[in-house]
């Protein structure tokens, strides 16, 4: 893994204990200014330590697995948790978005993730968990935000333009024709953050993954290639996820007679 004689430096438990100094700094600021954050700070510190320790054990356990089916199952579970989180963020859904967001996340994540793992990174075996889990995790984290933004925007736009939608229907529009402009807005809203991050990466921010690889002793030139793949992969997954969720959801705002769902009027 290392290059140029540098390999990663382990943080021992004694060294870890020194990081308490950093917690103290935060605590002193809170105490001096009476910000009332001490309790949250302590609780947050404990939680962060416990959660990270646990996930460390879980990951060590998973990384020892040599069974593709179990790894895929774990990724499906990750998709499920991410989809729950995504639908929780959608404010005014017509139908409970759990099922559609799970479908959108799983389909987009698997398609894009598999392209990256199998064709680009190509570890041996292909299901090597050290590659699969972080790659799929990064895709999910971003897609989750993307689809929540897209769906939220779609509902918001359509709620805000019921008169226009109704007028278009009166003029002979199909449901899709009636909401096409708003669907486009929604897709744009979902995809913009990822595309913007392509613009500024390396200038404003050094992404966490790349930083981590460099700390772990990887040649920065290689870390950069990884990072590039990850970013275009995230953009593709977000685009697909948004498209799927918006495509599956807009129809629920209409009834079987291709008119606006009467629930929309009632909420107004």
């Amino acid at each position: 893994m290392g290059s140029g004689g540098y390999s990663y430096i382990e943080i021992s438990y004694a060294q870890l204990l020194l990081s308490i100094i950093l917690v103290l700094i935060t605590g002193i600021i809170s105490a001096l200014l009476q910000l009332g954050l001490i309790k949250s700070l302590l609780w947050g510190t404990v939680r962060a330590f416990v959660q990270l320790t646990l996930i460390g054990y879980v990951l060590s356990f998973i990384f020892k697995l040599d069974n593709w089916a179990v790894i895929l199952l774990i990724i499906l579970l990750m998709c499920y948790i991410a989809s729950r989180e995504a639908s929780r963020r959608i404010k005014k859904p017509m139908v409970k978005p759990d099922a559609v967001s799970f479908l959108a996340l799983t389909a987009s994540t698997f398609l894009v993730g598999m392209i990256v793992v199998v064709f680009i990174v190509a570890p041996d075996p292909w299901y090597t968990p050290q590659v699969m889990i972080p790659i799929f995790g990064m895709i999910l984290g971003n897609s989750m935000n993307g689809i929540a933004l897209a769906l939220d925007r779609m509902y918001g736009e359509i709620y805000g333009h019921l008169d226009e939608v109704e007028q278009l229907l009166a003029l002979g529009a199909t449901p899709f024709e009636a909401v096409r402009d708003y669907v486009k807005e929604a897709l744009r809203a979902g995809m913009t953050p990822t595309i913007n991050s392509l613009m500024v990466v390396g200038l404003v921010s050094l992404p966490g993954m790349m930083t981590g690889q460099i700390l772990a002793g990887m040649d920065p030139a290689v870390a950069v290639r990884y990072q590039f793949v990850v970013m275009v992969m995230i953009a593709a997954a977000v685009a697909m996820g948004c498209l799927i969720i918006v495509g599956l959801s807009y129809r629920s705002m209409f009834n079987e007679d291709m008119a606006l769902n009467e629930k929309l009027y009632r909420n107004n």
Partner: protein, 216 residues
């Protein structure tokens, strides 16, 4: 033809399902059917139900001897054209707004945009031709209302559902618009109008009228 436009036991909910409205009636060809009733009695919703923009809970409409569901919603809505009280203009100029329906499924394939007709209608409703180049959302209420009538007429519907058509018009344009529609409904066989109007003298402009009332 036995039935031109007959609705039987048409049932729909008002607002939050608290009130159920049930109504029957008929529009005869060449006639104006006036819907009467106090504010909030469900007149506008009735027009939307007739246009299949709001779902009826029960009952049916027979149009030209056929049940309404025998027509596709797109064919129905372009044939039975609902014009809301508050005119809706889309981004783009006047011409793009008039052209909009010709890009949609309802009439895209079987009707063509007739420039000649556009000029004729602009003239009838005393709108200047420059309005076609003007950004539509900057139009005044009265201009937008008249432009929305033209947009509806270019679709060549058989029945027009007018919700307070004179609400945004001054006296002079009010008379022009009403006289136009009273001519339009007689100009060709098989036309009709369903009208909501608070102004009693609006109705006087039409020769053949019938009435239904809601919440009375």
């Amino acid at each position: 033809m036995q039935d031109f436009f007959r609705f039987t036991e048409l049932t729909y909910y008002l607002g939050s399902r608290e009130r159920e409205i049930r109504i029957s009636g008929e529009l005869k060809p060449g006639y104006v059917l006036v819907v009467k009733g106090p504010s909030g009695s469900g007149k506008s919703t009735l027009l939307k139900v007739m246009a299949r923009l709001v779902k009826a809970q029960g009952g049916e409409i027979i149009y030209r001897d056929k049940n309404w569901y025998a027509y596709s919603p797109y064919a129905w809505r372009t044939c039975i054209q609902y014009v809301p009280q508050k005119p809706v203009m889309f981004r783009g100029n006047g011409r793009e707004n008039l052209y909009k329906p010709f890009l949609l499924k309802g009439i895209r394939e079987d009707r063509i945009f007739n420039e000649e007709k556009v000029r004729e209608y602009l003239d009838i409703f005393s709108l200047p031709p420059q309005i076609l180049e003007q950004e539509a959302i900057t139009l005044s209420g009265g201009e937008a209302a008249r432009l929305s009538f033209i947009r509806a007429l270019l679709i060549e519907p058989s029945i027009i559902l007018l919700d307070e058509p004179t609400a945004y018009l001054d006296q002079e344009n009010r008379i022009k618009v009403l006289r136009f529609f009273s001519r339009w409904v007689k100009e060709e066989p098989g036309r009709g109008i369903v009208l909501i109007s608070h102004q009693e003298n609006d109705i006087e402009e039409f020769s053949d009228t019938s009435f239904i009332s809601l919440g009375g």
